[in-house]
Chain length 499, copies 2
Amino acid sequence: MSSPAPGRTASTPVDVDRVVRAAEATRPVLADRTLRAGLLRTAAELLAAARDEIVATADAETGLGAPRLDGELTRTHDQLLAFADHAWTGALLDVTIDHADPTARPAPRPDLRRTKVPLGVVAVFGAGNFPLAFGLPGGDTASALAAGCPVVVKAHPGHPATGDLCARLLRRAAAKAGLPEGVVGVVHGFEAGRALVEHPLTAAVGFTGSLHGGRALHDLAAARPRPIPFHGELGSLNPVFITEAAAAARGSELGAGLAASFTLGLGQLCTKPGLVLLPEGPAGDTVIAAAAAAGGATTGRLLDERIDSSFRSGVRTMAELPDVTEVPVDHAVPIGAAAPGAVRPRLLAVPAARLAAGDSHRALLEECFGPVAVLARYRTPAEAAAVLARIPGTLTATVHLAEDEHGPETAELIARLSALAGRVVVDGWPTGVAVTAAMHHGGPYPAATTNATSVGTAAAERWLRPVVYQNTPQTLLPPELRDDNPLGVPRRVNGRTEG
Amino acid sequence: MSSPAPGRTASTPVDVDRVVRAAEATRPVLADRTLRAGLLRTAAELLAAARDEIVATADAETGLGAPRLDGELTRTHDQLLAFADHAWTGALLDVTIDHADPTARPAPRPDLRRTKVPLGVVAVFGAGNFPLAFGLPGGDTASALAAGCPVVVKAHPGHPATGDLCARLLRRAAAKAGLPEGVVGVVHGFEAGRALVEHPLTAAVGFTGSLHGGRALHDLAAARPRPIPFHGELGSLNPVFITEAAAAARGSELGAGLAASFTLGLGQLCTKPGLVLLPEGPAGDTVIAAAAAAGGATTGRLLDERIDSSFRSGVRTMAELPDVTEVPVDHAVPIGAAAPGAVRPRLLAVPAARLAAGDSHRALLEECFGPVAVLARYRTPAEAAAVLARIPGTLTATVHLAEDEHGPETAELIARLSALAGRVVVDGWPTGVAVTAAMHHGGPYPAATTNATSVGTAAAERWLRPVVYQNTPQTLLPPELRDDNPLGVPRRVNGRTEG
């Protein structure tokens, strides 16, 4: 959402129009699911073959480090293959067939066969913190191509060269797979992003980023003459509830786990646990001591200046609130030896009662990107529940339980968490998002602007719309709807699953 | 979207708040799918038992006639039962389970189990033209209750007493089924509708009505501090393409079919065929002659003054455009014998070339509610295709073919129609919408504001959001996610369908 990176020219409205039209022109060929699957597989191959160059380019731009970026590239590669399979099997068509029923009342029923068709050009606004897995070649792009939608990416200003490199590789993959290169386009610059959302041929938007920028683009998408779906992920607090018994049973382990989770990627993950509900008293103290002892192992520079200044000012604002105290974190790296501009993990503690009523401590219930976690000490489970009731929609909600805490009270707690979040995690940490059919990466606003997921194969549903064919002769039906199911697509026929 | 009916008091903001809060309070009990199914079945029963009163009340308010309203009540009844089954089987939960995979790369996968949870209070704006099937007890209400969402209906000013009567019956059904009456609430008046969309506890909106009113509410829903999904159906042209060969083979039959379809319900159906692409020449003339001969069988008063005046002014505007000619319709009822204020079916003809370029005849490509159809005469299939390319998103697109027209050109035509519409009809008429799993009643904007359907069991998806449980102990999982599947819910486990 900021200006193009230094030395990079912003795309003009004419550029945006040209790239979107080139993408639009590829829609007919993208209708072929076999070609799409081939494109995604070839893309995975070319990204893997260019691994060293990609990792070096992304590291130079983001400082995320080669091991992390290498892992992210593997994830991106595997995700492309998962979406290739998803396109290839036809599962994403969600084919549903109801044969004619002349005896139906109040009127006879015609033969109805439903499949899904691609929406059109998808605009992708990738994340700053994942230049690959949520960046240009990431989940939004992969799922849109799997759905048959060409993609135009607004390159993130934090890693434009990585974006351009990946775009070249994806376009080369398209050519190798027999598709026009226009299936993937790139534009640069803030105004280009707005123009992309407003372009009449843009059919949907995928966005990962900040509440402020995302909401502005959401509003643009809704205000168009023809509104389009805006699937945005705008920030998440990811609360963690640690019960008294869990803290008593394994406080040190929980503290170390928390430290590892909130400092992972220097806290620049959408699933970073930002708020921990922790009991008052010695069991909770053990968790804090262990988190403080382990929390300082990480240090480094944040992704860019905007994140750095938001982090520093955000932590300052929170720390200055009444009754907020800073927990001193043991630093493995002496302050003088850290890189210039490096930040250190921070832990803040506050009585939960401060969060349970009034808006004075509202800032503690909002996402602060970077390595900071707030420890809210509760005196009673009811006090903790009152805090949960005030948390905005979140991607994840986690609970740590003792081994025997599986009764009705815990069930009620789990129900509370599921009311807040798209993913409920038990006895684990929210960071790390598996790419599977069952995954849901989303949640009530502002975690997500729609009820869709941006991770997992279901992410392709965002870019498709249903079309039903009524009494249509076999030869005129899309192949997946014909009686003989020549492509072997999984289908639901008269209520029964086939294949 | 107009003021409350004469003699009816508009609900105040305080009323709206009270009704929404009463609805919200019922969410915990509605979580029980068995209770929901019971509510829907009891509601169907009570509506059927009150058939005479409902039909009389609705007829007094709408003048739609007892036979039509009786059929509509049967449809409403059956729809409630279909959604009861849908809730009861658990198919709407779309349960997806992926077991843990410790060998997965780049990281081991946790156990992930996804189900769906209700969004919260659903605001329903029913249609003027279907006081029952798309009214208070209609598809939006039935699908929302099936999904576990309480409903607050903004009563349509065209049939407030019907709405109030049906609300009383639904609330009585709730009490009989062991649920609080607040599961269904009603408010009256234009401002109450706005307050309902803006209420912080309203979680989603279902709307059937005009482009103007629907777009205003869509924009309100998107501009809320927490935007909510707005599933609106805002108008549809429902083009019909008749090929030269089809017109030659069965012109009279097609003309009679067209007349029956565009005059059904006095043309006050969202699926009324508003534009017919018809070949120039004698074959097309036969269709027109037959339509003109049969088209006058219907006469009557439109639903309300607003629709009446829009119809009259809309037809006048269209008829005055250059090269538009009126086709005289044979009237079965002599003009003097028709009811006061009655309207007669109208047929307008225009060269397709007039629609294929420029915006002068744009009015012919917009929905005009009421018994009017525009016959656009094409000289070549390419000219007809050029008209299709200019039609806004529509619920349905229909084609009539000769028996041997099943080749590639026809396949291309079908593809064009599927790009426009949510439902493609071959050799039939778009009026009549079956309630089945495969049905899709929606389409590109403005036919619908989202990619969801408002008819058929899939309509319940609009009111649910996914939640995934990660590594959650068996006893803490919702029953549909437990290994032993105690409720026998259909599930997809590790990619395979179960049950």
